[in-house]
Amino acid sequence: MAEALMWPDEIYRILRAWNVTQFSYVPDAGHTVLINRSLEDPEVHSVALTTEEEGVAMLAGAHLGGAHGVVLMQSSGVGNCVNMFSFVKNGQFPMLILVSMRGDFGEGNPWQMPMGQAVQPVLEACGFLCMRVEQPTEVPAALQAACTMVYQAGQAVAVLLSQQLIGAKAF
């Protein structure tokens, strides 16, 4: 149980160990802990966006300036980013996005289903490697692997935090 509660803190610890200093997001329940941790951390920039695609462009700007960033988004936010993902295939910019999934396991809101089910094919079409995480115990290794591929190998990686991990929102 402790492990189940701690996985978002573990994500934050790993991101900070990789010297991630720009956390951007459109506020989202699934990323509450990460967002709050970044707001409380004087060593990082915690950036509330008006749309997720701003975060993708910020990642490109951060990389130009030698900084590590991450964008936290809900699955619906992936749809807001598609053209901005051109930085991946044309620019080979390293990118890490963490996607809190809606519209998958146990979803009760039908409006979330179309984009939730489109997340992985859309991201893969745009050049992202997707890593899906379903159990709390999988989180540390998945984040460590993702950070290595992004910040060391220069890849674009999306970590999909499933509704099995986060818990389906009750309506």
Binding site: H45, M58, L64, F87, G91
Partner: protein, 208 residues
């Protein structure tokens, strides 16, 4: 019918297109481009900036990610707090993500300036009128978002003050440069977003 709907509301009908020549006004406003790390928008502003900066790698120009230049500038400004970052983009590019004014305003990066070369038209696609030709005021939108220093430059005599403003390091600023809908400088530039990325990073960081 659609155009009537488009013109509804309080937007004035009169054209607000500028009279400055971008080929003269942009270089005067920017001055020495080496004072800045520059993110350029698409098409016209990419050429404005490439014409000023080539062959140096202190600029990065977009070509197909419309609406991202200001957010790129924000990421760069946060990453390089001791350098002055300048975004030079067009009215159409800014209008696509005008919400980024709000994001910049709440972050208040002291080293970020944004210049809109506002010709009131989508020049690259055939000079269709943009919203700023039809009364939409980007300066008012930026001020409403909370950008602390905002100027609209319509005459040559106003350029010097705006040029000083974009060099300040105490708050983000936004300058609308009202220009005629005429072509930007002719300049060859790379459309390879990876090559230009490496060139920028080599120049700034001395490493890939």
């Amino acid at each position: 019918m659609p155009s009537d709907i488009f013109r509804a509301g309080s937007a004035p009908q009169a054209s607000t297109t500028g009279t400055l020549d971008r080929c003269e006004a942009v270089p005067k406003l920017i001055g020495n481009p080496q004072d800045f790390l520059i993110i350029a928008g698409l098409a016209g502003t990419a050429r404005d900036v490439a014409h000023l900066c080539e062959p140096h790698g202190n600029y990065y120009a977009c070509a197909g990610v419309m609406g991202g230049a200001t957010a790129m500038g924000l990421g760069l400004a946060l990453a390089q707090p001791t350098r002055r970052v300048l975004v030079v983009t067009g009215d159409g590019e800014l209008l696509m993500n005008v919400g980024t004014f709000a994001t910049v305003a709440i972050m208040r990066p002291p080293n970020l300036s944004i210049v809109c070369v506002d010709n009131g038209h989508y020049g690259e696609t055939g000079y269709q009128k943009s919203h700023t030709s039809l009364g939409v005021d980007l300066a008012a939108m930026a001020a409403g978002a909370g950008i602390p220093a905002v100027r609209t430059v319509t005459h040559e005599s106003e350029i010097a003050e705006a040029a000083a403003l974009i060099r300040q390091m105490d708050a983000p600023s936004f300058v609308v440069l009202k220009v005629k809908p005429t072509d930007p400088p002719k300049v060859r530039r790379s459309m390879d977003a990876a090559w230009t990325k490496h060139r920028f990073r080599d120049a700034l960081l001395g490493t890939r």
